[in-house]
Symmetry: C2
Subunit: 330 residues, 2 copies
């Protein structure tokens, strides 16, 4: 591997000049600049990232924290992040928080150790107060997650709107008894609060009261979905439609509903969230809410790189549009 010294020798100049060219510094004569560039090309030189890192410079590496990569939503997100990063000559370090606070903090710490230039957080486990301190070591970009009092850029989907149009769609189909699954606790604040708001808003507009029996908290997986359906079956007064919050949960609900002879959407309408590949495969095909994941990943990387380049960070919140995909389950 050629080093900066080799380039300098070949160009007949000093390391400093080469370094200047490398970093687009002013005060390099055009002739020398060309000379250096030629030498670099000839040698197939590329700067050693470790040395740069040690010197306190860029690492050309960004870290991405996801809860679980096996969740298709996040693997699609990582996919687009990796692709955009690659285009910009960045590497992607991947971290699974496993919804574990300590792990998350460990990963954030890499910013401090200068192992990564910046971090994209696609989920947040700790309180923002614990996380904030790390922003002084490098830029943090929130992607998909959303913290009101956070002073960092965030790209996110309008979860509230997504839920709203989903519920509204059910209402338009004539449903008045609408069940609702959330990944959180259906609290004012906390996980999925935006979605909760969308749900409440749609119901309120239609003059429908919330039935607490039809709220299912802490739901995530296919297995959870099955249990939701079983819970519904025990109810005397059952919802005629259910907003599941994820295609996986929807799949679980559907499988169990069919097992007990319920017709979809006649006996119970089901709406998912994410528009994952399975949505189309389910029987009946799942009505769901599509999120522009690729675009979100793209914006996140571009935003982070912008922060890395500009000293002046502009704290921008980007809301991406969300879309209802109507299939056969509603």
């Amino acid at each position: 591997m050629p080093t900066i010294t080799d380039v300098a020798k070949l160009a007949g100049l000093s390391k400093t000049t080469v370094s200047r060219v490398l970093n687009n510094h002013p005060y390099v004569s055009k002739e020398n600049k060309v000379l250096v560039q030629k030498a670099m090309e000839q040698l197939g030189y590329s700067p050693n990232p470790s040395a740069r890192r040690l010197r306190g410079q860029l690492t050309c590496t960004i870290g991405v924290i996801v809860p679980r990569i096996v969740n298709p939503f996040f693997s699609y997100l990582v996919n687009s992040i990796e692709k955009v990063a690659y285009k910009n000559n960045y590497q992607v370090l991947i971290f699974q928080s496993d919804e574990n606070k300590e792990k998350e903090l460990n990963f954030l710490n890499l910013l401090k150790i200068k192992q990564v230039d910046g971090i994209i957080m696609t989920s947040i486990e700790n309180e923002w107060d614990s996380i904030e301190q790390y922003t002084k070591y490098g830029p943090i970009m929130l992607c998909n997650e959303y913290v009101n009092n956070a002073k960092v850029p965030m790209v996110r989907l309008d979860q509230s709107e997504g839920t709203y149009i989903g519920i509204k769609h059910l209402i338009e189909r004539g449903h008045k008894k609408i069940g609702y699954c959330t990944g959180g606790l259906f609290a004012e604040d906390g996980k999925d609060k935006d979605r909760n708001q969308g749900y409440q808003k749609a119901l309120k507009e239609a003059g429908i009261a919330i039935n607490p029996n039809w709220i299912f908290v802490n739901q995530h997986s296919i297995e959870d979905g099955k249990q939701v359906m079983n819970q519904i079956l025990t109810l005397n007064d059952r919802p005629t439609a259910i907003f599941t919050g994820s295609d996986e949960i929807a799949g679980g609900v559907m499988i169990e509903a069919k097992k007990h002879g319920l017709k979809i959407p006649d006996d119970i309408a089901i709406i998912g969230f994410d528009d994952q590949p399975i949505a189309e495969l389910l029987e009946p095909a799942l009505t769901t809410i599509r999120q522009p994941i690729d675009q979100m990943g793209e914006k996140a990387v571009e935003g982070l790189i912008a922060m890395l380049n500009n000293q002046e960070v502009q704290i921008k919140k980007i809301d991406l549009p969300i879309q209802l995909v109507i299939r056969k389950s509603t």
Copy 2:
């Protein structure tokens, strides 16, 4: 961030001694060792990976090359790799080759630049000859992929056996006309050749001849699966069962078959590969072949770390068992 110098000062010893403790060198008195360890703990010290890297040492980072992270098979694989790596204090750099030869070579190059300690390749795009040269810069572990003449360790699933038991299962169900999808070209050599062998072996044992009209090459996605089904529908002499090679393809086949009023498994039996979550969600639930993905990722990381630690590399091939999951589609 405390450095080795800080630790040395606190312990009242030299940097060298601290470094010795850090790297488990001999010739350090027990008392001093304890002293150093205490100092490290007190300071919350952890060695700077960039400096180590620059010095030509370990980076505590392994690279994983996958074709596409959105393919559930690979996201599950990455999941298990990341988990085991984390346990062993390794970071995971993720690369998507996108089935692109040049990208793959770019990633391999990181081994040369000492950006990663080792690389796990879960797919191979280039000829082995092009890849082999990189092994001199650091260990490469083949995971899921398989190259006969490669002198590197590999962990893989017995694809041939998996296909064999799948086809045999169809034969036992009374099928004699069995279609077959492959991700490659159904050639003697090349992609999916092991699976092809399993197919041929099972057929041969049952005294069934191969019908070239029922071989579908270059199949990968849900969309491909739909097309396969449509192609089958144009045939006068149709297969009564189809081995799809992936649950996604199976899903596509199924969706299209149902659309045309075919009953599964009566009109056509379908068998998948991977046992992805969708397998259970499909209607009817998909008979498929389960691969011990987690175990494979685990072995790959452990193998790589072993290579990193021992100077002497033992070139081991590990074949993991594979399993038939019978559901309702056959």
